[in-house]
């Protein structure tokens, strides 16, 4: 059950800031990986641009529209992953997924992303929090088709 306290947990100040002023909110024309993420149930839609050099994410950006949770998640993901290797990114995704679905292991490693812990109290919003991440994985895998939450 979610109450007002849990609502504050969900909409943490950091999340609201990122949703209003997202970081790396830009297309990267030279990116060698790109994918779209789409939630057909609510219309959230993001494009993720990733430039990978020597197995590391040298640049990452996103564009699109979505709710506060999905946008902040995309924004903070780009901050977190810049400079990480693809393997590291995969590991962070797994832990982030665990966090928002309530199966958290070691949140310490997630740094600022730990603010998304409140999402686990709102199961219907897990898709919002992970949309950009699914698109990122598709981009790194080189899938050309848009990924869908459904």
């Amino acid at each position: 059950m979610s109450d007002v306290r849990e609502l504050r947990d969900l909409y943490q100040e950091v999340i609201l800031e990122h949703s209003k002023k997202p970081k790396n909110f830009r297309a990267i024309d030279s990116a060698n990986h790109k994918a779209e993420g789409f939630n057909p149930l609510c219309g959230d839609h993001f494009t993720i641009y990733v430039d990978v050099k020597d197995g590391s994410i040298s640049d990452i950006g996103f564009q699109g529209s979505g709710c506060a949770i999905s946008k902040a998640s995309a924004s903070m993901m780009t901050q977190m992953l810049k400079g990480k290797t693809e393997t590291e990114a995969e590991g962070i995704f797994t832990r982030f997924h665990g966090l928002v679905t309530g199966h958290a292991g070691d949140e310490q490693d997630l740094g600022k992303l730990a603010v998304f812990a409140g999402v686990s109290e709102f199961p219907l919003r897990v898709k919002c929090a992970t949309l950009a991440w699914h698109a990122l994985r598709a981009a790194l895998k080189g899938d050309q088709e848009a990924v869908s939450t459904e």
Partner: protein, 420 residues
């Protein structure tokens, strides 16, 4: 009613719609969500069920359950009688000319698919056109797209204005020699617009084009008279008229239904079967293959009777008052914009908020115990028309109150407080 009109004191009595008394008929409403009294404003998605409906289903399973149109035993006879009685109730509810014109289906979606796959496949060919409007629900778009794709026909879409009203002149211009079918919503689920169906039918019929009306949202909110509308098909869903899910009604004019091929093959829809030839059953059974959802049909009958007992006109008035009050209240909140401001409107209040995504609105309202729908409402082309990804939608039912509208307004202010 004319007898009432002669006695002014009775008019007064008739206009007293006792919503608190009505609420007692709906057990589900009396609960708290996140510690707040439930405010259910998602009636366009599905309506809650009165005890009369719940008890009718329970009673059927406790006393009468049996297969219909088959056995000679007592239970089968009872079940058949109860099932067929609903057909007559539905006929009267829609004022159809004949009970044979009432086909039971799973819901509006199946009703529309039935017409597209039978009448449509038989009568729409290569180069022909099917005309719909820009405010249709996906269920009144995709079945026609499938048909057009199969037949090499073209789907034409009549535009709407910024208020969400059909541009009737444009609609008429699109009605041409190639138009073989027209399908329109009676009441838009995303915008609340009431379409001028009588006028649409008149325009189409003057060119010998039949019209299907998607009545999913209108049937629970307005008096529907299919003979007065003169439409050829009318579709509705049981769960939106306070009945069960999995049951709906397709009304069709006898002459058209007679000429249509069957939809699905199976038991009950046949008169005789040999491996060489099958003779189809008469109307309406030709379109009801297999054992139907008998319990839900009986529940639907109870729902129609419940609506009749309250008076559809009374419900219409009650909801009109609520919508006007809600529109006025919500519009005055800075940063809130109502989407769909048609002059003729009912039941639905879609809105967007500056810099706040509808999903976030929905989550925060939920913590206040308020249930609204957020998203594209299965009408993505409507969202594209207004250049928005989604809306929040409050939709009213016969049991909603002004206090609940006040709770919604308070909830919206809370949304601004949390996210603003």
């Amino acid at each position: 009613m004319s007898t009432v009109a002669k006695f002014p004191e009775k008019i007064h009595a008739a206009s007293l719609y006792d919503v608190q008394k009505v609420r007692k008929d709906f057990p589900i409403l009396h609960q708290t969500v996140h510690g707040r009294p439930l405010v259910y404003l998602d009636n366009a998605a599905t309506t809650q069920k009165p005890l009369a409906v719940i008890e009718a289903i329970e009673s059927y399973y406790c006393h009468d359950n049996s297969n219909i149109h088959r056995g000679v035993h007592t239970l089968s006879e009872r079940a058949t009688e109860a099932y067929e009685k609903v057909r007559v109730t539905a006929q009267k509810f829609l004022n159809a000319a004949d009970y044979k014109e009432i086909i039971f289906v799973r819901g509006t979606t199946e009703a529309i698919n039935l017409v597209a796959q039978t009448y449509g496949r038989k009568n729409v060919g290569s180069g022909d056109e099917v005309l719909i409007t820009a405010m249709e629900h996906h269920s009144n778009i995709v079945p026609w797209q499938l048909l057009c794709e199969e037949k090499g026909a073209r789907l034409r879409v009549a535009p709407i204005n910024d208020r969400g009203e059909l541009l009737l002149d444009e609609f008429e211009k699109l009605l041409g020699p190639k138009t073989k079918f027209v399908a329109v919503a009676h009441l838009s689920n995303a915008l609340g617009t009431i379409n001028p169906v009588r006028e649409i039918v008149r325009m189409a019929h003057s060119r010998n084009v039949p019209v299907l009306v998607d009545g999913a949202q209108a049937a629970p909110r307005m008096q529907v008279d299919v003979q007065a509308l003169d439409c050829d098909f009318y579709a509705l869903s049981g769960h939106k008229v306070y009945g069960p899910t999995g049951i709906g009604v397709l009304y069709g004019k006898t002459s058209l239904l007679e000429a249509m091929p069957p939809y699905q093959g199976g038991g009950d829809m046949i008169a005789s079967v040999t491996f060489e030839k099958t003779v189809y059953n008469r109307l309406p059974y030709k379109f009801e293959a297999g054992t139907p959802n008998i319990a839900a049909t009986i529940g639907l009958g109870a729902a129609f009777e419940y609506l009749n007992s309250l008076g559809v006109e009374q419900i219409e008035q009650h909801e009109a008052g609520l919508l006007a009050y809600a529109t006025k209240s919500v519009e005055t909140i800075p940063g809130v914009k109502v989407v769909g401001t048609a002059k003729e409107k009912a039941g639905v209040l879609s809105f967007v908020m500056d810099d706040i995504h509808p999903h976030d609105i929905g989550t925060i309202l939920d913590t206040e115990g308020i249930a609204v729908r957020t998203g594209h409402h299965c009408a993505q082309p409507v969202m594209q028309r207004f250049n928005i990804p989604a809306t929040a939608r409050a939709s009213f039912g016969l049991y909603n109150t002004r206090e609940e509208v006040d709770a919604l307004v308070k909830g919206i202010r809370k949304v601004q407080e949390v996210l603003g």
